[in-house]
Symmetry: C2
Subunit: 217 residues, 2 copies
């Protein structure tokens, strides 16, 4: 299938078959997609907690109650659940670690190249932190690029995905000890294989028509 | 190439060959990917302005000056440039149009199914508008799912992409008359084919190591 066919046939999974697990090589590919997702100025302002054990998934499911209780079953039935976390601060030490990694990976032919990258990234980090005052929202947006890539990649690999915004991020922060690690929970995505109870697998997709969502100039 | 290979070989394009245009069938696939991108509660809070004409690209390039002037050349050199716009309000009329579309597309076997979808979507729209006070940021995040999907799809189709946050959204709003259409500019992505001057095509990718970005539970 090409990317357009994947886009039109993919379904958000509403009920997983708990007996089916994602093979290791497929999981490795999905992790590669996450790690290599693009982000503004290569800021990579993320961390991914992947729950593959029953205890790990139970810890996540236990945070889902009240209005979000309906998502707990998806977490328990999935093969793996990814908690997308944001770094709470892109401080100097972190920005230097990015530069060091880029240098180690061979992106800087000259000292000027490193200085240029440092200046450019610091400009955008400062813009969001000090002028637009949306540093957290900026990080969140990058994380949604990774979420989009993961969903699309899962579909290409025959893995069903269920993105979940219906989560309690503060309870997740506490359950996973995220603040102590300089992280905060943003969004979650369950991965696995749909069960017979997945009503959404049998429903057609629906989208607004092309003339509503596109303008050409 | 599978999705992991696409993820590791994709490069953000820094300079386009202005003589090369995206074939119509490929552009159609990219538009399908955009239109079918997933969004929270199928809210589709977006609109995509696609500049394929010289005049259209020039109108976008003219909004880029000051700190963002360095992006104007990418806009002029690209085959097509997508301006990702958010709907400024998800009001009752819009939410009803989503329900009508879903009904027309065959997603509701019973009136209860329509009522359930309406209730679920209204809950999340209200949550972000009235409780979390992040309706705009919520829409932005959905748009970044579409951006992530577009970049990944472009790479799969051999099209080079340059996502651009270095834009002046207010100038874009004005240039495109977006507020009058209930829209606002969020982010931009140029698409086409890299030129010989695209230094980034020859540089290795760099990402933080797996043990930094993943935790397993």
């Amino acid at each position: 299938m090409n990317v357009a066919q994947i886009a039109t046939t993919r379904r958000t999974c509403k009920a997983f078959d708990p007996t089916r697990k994602i093979p290791g090589s497929v999981l490795d590919d999905l992790k590669t997609v996450l790690r290599f997702a693009p982000s503004s100025v290569n800021s990579q302002p993320w961390h991914f907690v992947i729950a593959g054990s029953d205890a790990g998934k139970e810890a996540l499911a236990a945070t889902l109650d009240g209005a979000f209780a309906y998502n707990a079953g998806k977490v328990r039935g999935a093969s793996h659940v990814v908690v997308f976390c944001a770094r709470t601060a892109l401080d100097e030490a972190y920005l230097n670690s990015l530069l060091d990694q880029e240098e180690a990976d061979g992106r800087f032919a000259t000292p000027d190249a490193r200085a240029g990258q440092s200046k450019s990234r610091s400009f955008y980090v400062g813009l969001h932190r000090d002028q637009l005052n949306d540093a957290d929202a900026w990080a969140d947006r990058q994380i949604y690029i990774a979420l989009g890539n993961l969903m699309q990649a899962a579909a290409a690999l025959g893995v069903d995905a269920c993105p979940m915004e219906g989560i309690d991020v503060l309870k997740l922060d506490e359950a996973l000890g995220l603040p102590q690690k300089g992280l905060r929970a943003v969004v979650m995505c369950a991965l696995g294989y749909g069960s017979e109870q997945d009503f959404n697998a049998r429903l057609p997709k629906s989208r607004l028509p092309a003339d509503t969502v596109f303008s050409e100039i």
